[in-house]
């Protein structure tokens, strides 16, 4: 008997392992469950196992160990064409010898749907991606963005409840990519379908997803909502991989509930939130986001520690200023400030004190 907890999960990976050569595991003991209608992104560097997971879910790779369940039913032994999962491929994989309309009607055709119904659904899907007039064209006659829309329409046209997307925007230029991110998000939200999205682009992951699973080395490092992931990374890999991040190394000198004092390697003392440290003497790598660095010490809570900094470089970026500092021997310490009236433009060589709210500084694994 399955528990009620498993019942509510729509997609579930249960202790899944995958090895290609029988020597190394590409995916190590993956456990993941997704609710219906969720937009989950698998994010990670190449070779981290995210695409393998997607391929196992689609049925093009078989799990070496463990169970993959869809709607509570194990799909390990169901062949890909019977899974009813829509998929958008990296280079769209639109069939070049068929017109756009034929591409879209292919999944309906193999399901032996009557012609009238097929045409109506194809038309509706084309309208949904605003490509209604392009039914008679060949994929080669379309631009990258248009092909992307057709690929999306084709994955959605047969009303799959689960759609997988394998770096679908990878081949587009930056501006179009950002535009398509919102478009895809709106379409799938409107249809209420469940999406598993694979990308190595962290902005894409943050802007589109309900939850993001950060992969590294075949293991999910953290799975959380975008804000949680960005603001409260659980380990230094996630902190480094998501967004820009400053790290300083040191050892814990005082620890209590919710706060830890860390002595940096040059002897300065800072306040942190303990995440992966538990005892005095633990080595740690602390993480501070550049935009949380404070130059105006009066805004810090009373009694907060400050550190010495020297300005190495000042970069004007329009909406923001980037100041590169040397802090505790690290010359790659970045502080980001908004281009607001009265904001100081620091000169290289200037020496000053900086600080941050203790809750913005997280003591992670060394």
């Amino acid at each position: 008997m399955v528990s009620s907890d498993i019942d509510s999960a729509f997609v579930e990976f249960d202790h899944v392992q995958k090895s290609y050569d029988g020597e190394t595991l590409v995916v190590k003991n993956l456990n993941l469950s997704m609710a219906k209608g969720e937009f989950l992104t698998m994010l990670g560097p190449s070779g981290s196992g995210k695409t393998t997971c997607l391929m196992m879910l689609a049925g093009f790779e078989t799990a070496t160990h463990g169970d993959i369940r869809l709607g509570g039913v194990s799909i390990n032994n169901i062949s890909p064409h019977k899974r009813g999962i829509g998929m958008v491929f990296q280079n769209y994989a639109l069939f070049p010898h068929m017109t756009v309309a034929e591409n879209l009607s292919f999944p309906l055709d193999v399901r032996r749907m009557p012609k009238a119904e097929r045409e109506e659904k194809v038309m509706r899907a084309l309208d949904m991606v605003q490509m209604g007039e392009f039914g008679g064209r060949r994929p080669a006659q379309l631009s990258g963005g248009q092909q992307q829309r057709i690929a999306l329409a084709r994955a959605l046209v047969f009303e799959a409840e689960l759609v997988l997307m394998d770096e679908p925007l990878g081949a587009l230029d930056k501006q179009l990519r950002e535009h398509m991110q919102f478009e895809i998000k709106h379409i799938v939200d409107g249809l209420g379908i469940t999406v598993v999205y694979v990308t190595h682009d962290q902005t894409e992951a943050l802007t589109m997803s309900d939850r993001v699973a950060v992969f590294n080395d075949g293991v999910i490092q953290q799975i959380a909502a975008p804000d949680e992931l960005y603001e409260r990374p659980r380990n230094s890999f996630v902190a480094q991989f998501i967004g820009e991040n400053n790290t300083l190394t040191g050892s814990v000198t005082k620890i209590e509930e919710g706060a830890a004092e860390v002595t940096l390697d040059d002897g300065e003392v800072i306040d942190t939130v303990p995440v992966n440290v538990s005892a005095v003497g633990d080595r740690t790598r602390v993480s501070i986001r550049p935009e949380r660095v404070e130059f105006d010490l009066s805004r810090l809570p009373p009694g907060a520690h400050t550190v010495n900094a020297e300005v190495m470089e000042f970069i004007y970026m329009g909406d923001t200023f980037r100041t590169r500092l040397r802090v505790a021997g690290n010359d790659e310490f970045i502080a980001k400030t908004r281009n607001a009236p009265g904001q100081n433009r620091l000169r290289p060589g200037a020496k000053l004190k900086i600080g941050w709210h203790p809750q913005d500084c997280r003591a992670l694994d060394a």
Partner: protein, 423 residues
């Protein structure tokens, strides 16, 4: 200023038209490029285009009669063959004068051989008359009419003269008519006698067998090409070497190997007899017939089918088949509706290559074809080296060439030549 630029041609900075100054700038480049290819161009022109052109011209060239018997041809121009009467004395006189010269220059037997293609008996007529006529004097021995008929009764036959008259034109459709089992008679083009009609049948057989070979090659090559394109690199390289291995072996050796395998005392028959599947006295006849030619040529031409198909398949990303499956297609549907249509250009290229090679193949049918399995090319070779009827050989070759070109044109119209990928 701006009005002038709008109205007239675009000008370069120094005022010359831009087109001319561009042409001047590119001229040096063009000349240099031409000089680089010139040696090859000359080589191809001298050793390839010219001989082929000459050979093709031989299929209509017919100078021998007009050159050897110039006076006779002129005299015969007024003779009405349909009246049913022998020509008058002036024609005989002209013939005698021509023959005296021809015999002195030893041209009369050549002429006899040439006319013998058209009418049997002409060869011996010229040879036998030549010996006597050589002793005659054009002035003293006239008149010649009775004298010539005395020397050989052939000169008294109207058909002899008709034949000379018919074939006296310098360009003749005769060889082409011969090539399609017809002949140019004094009464116009006629069908050859039943016993001599073999060429049309041979053309038909050549096309038919080439088609069979092409289809067999497609069936055998497609799975191999698929494996080549889809196996892991190390295995596919090994397979590719095995595909190419026959290329590195002499054609004669490969064909002879088939002889060893297929003959009645050969490996296959011996094995079958030993296994008891075939009785010793009823050994299979697998060589010196069409079967032998088809088997050996399929084997020899197979790489020409495998390689184009392989090179096209290699460019088909595996994502297409995956996409088809994710959209609900079974393995077969995904293959048939998505993979196969994309591999068709390779099949087209391979088929053209194999068919064109097969239709003009010579060595293999010669060795393993016997009498039933030979191609038109073997007949061409026969006319080139044994019967020495080069005109007919040239006509057969021209027909073959035109047939291939027509086929190519049809393919272009139906499939589109842009769809052919050779690599």
């Amino acid at each position: 200023m701006s009005a002038a630029t709008r109205a007239g041609p675009v000008l370069a900075a120094d005022g010359t038209p831009l087109k001319r100054s561009l042409a001047r700038a590119l001229r040096m480049q063009k000349i240099r490029a031409l000089l680089l290819v010139a040696p090859l161009l000359v080589f191809v022109l001298i050793t390839f285009v010219t001989p082929i052109g000459q050979m093709l011209f031989r299929s209509v060239e017919n100078d021998l009669v007009a050159d050897t018997l110039p006076l006779t041809v002129a005299a015969l121009a007024d003779w009405d063959a349909s009246a049913g009467e022998l020509p008058e004395e002036p024609v005989f006189n002209a013939l005698a004068r021509d023959m005296i010269v021809a015999v002195r220059e030893k041209n009369h037997t050549k002429l006899g051989t040439r006319l013998n293609y058209e009418r049997t008996g002409m060869s011996s007529l010229f040879r036998k008359s030549g010996r006597q006529i050589s002793r005659w004097d054009p002035e003293e021995d006239a008149p010649f009419r009775e004298r010539l008929i005395d020397v050989h009764e052939g000169w008294g036959e109207i058909d002899t003269w008709k034949t000379i008259q018919t074939h006296s034109r310098r360009l003749t459709p005769g060889y082409f008519l011969n090539a399609v089992d017809m002949q140019l008679t004094p009464d116009g083009p006629m069908a050859q006698p039943e016993s001599k009609r073999i060429l049309i049948k041979l053309f038909g057989r050549t096309v038919w067998m080439s088609l069979v070979i092409t289809v067999t090659c497609i069936i055998l090559a497609y799975p191999v090409a698929y494996l080549l394109a889809n196996l892991p690199l190390r295995k596919s390289n090994l397979l590719l070497i095995m595909v190419l291995l026959p290329f590195w072996t002499s054609l004669l050796v490969r064909t002879s190997a088939w002889k060893v395998l297929l003959q009645q005392q050969g490996v296959i028959n011996d094995t079958l007899v030993w296994l008891g599947l075939v009785a010793d006295e009823a050994r299979l006849v697998m060589i010196n017939n069409q079967f032998g030619t088809i088997v050996a040529m399929t084997h020899i031409l197979l790489p020409f089918m495998i390689l184009p198909i392989y090179s096209v398949m290699r460019t088909i990303p595996p994502a297409y088949v995956r996409a088809a499956k994710s959209l609900g297609a079974t393995d077969w549907t995904a293959f048939w509706r998505v993979y196969f249509p994309q591999s068709v250009p390779g099949i087209g290229a391979g088929s053209i290559l194999v068919f064109i090679l097969a239709i003009g193949y010579y060595i293999t049918p010669e060795i393993v074809g016997g009498t039933k399995g030979v191609f038109i090319s073997n007949r061409i070779a026969y006319h080139i080296s044994f019967s020495l009827n080069w005109g007919l050989a040239a006509a057969l070759g021209t027909i073959l060439l035109v047939a291939v070109l027509i086929l190519y044109w049809c393919y272009d119209r139906i499939v589109g030549i842009d769809n052919v990928k050779l690599g």
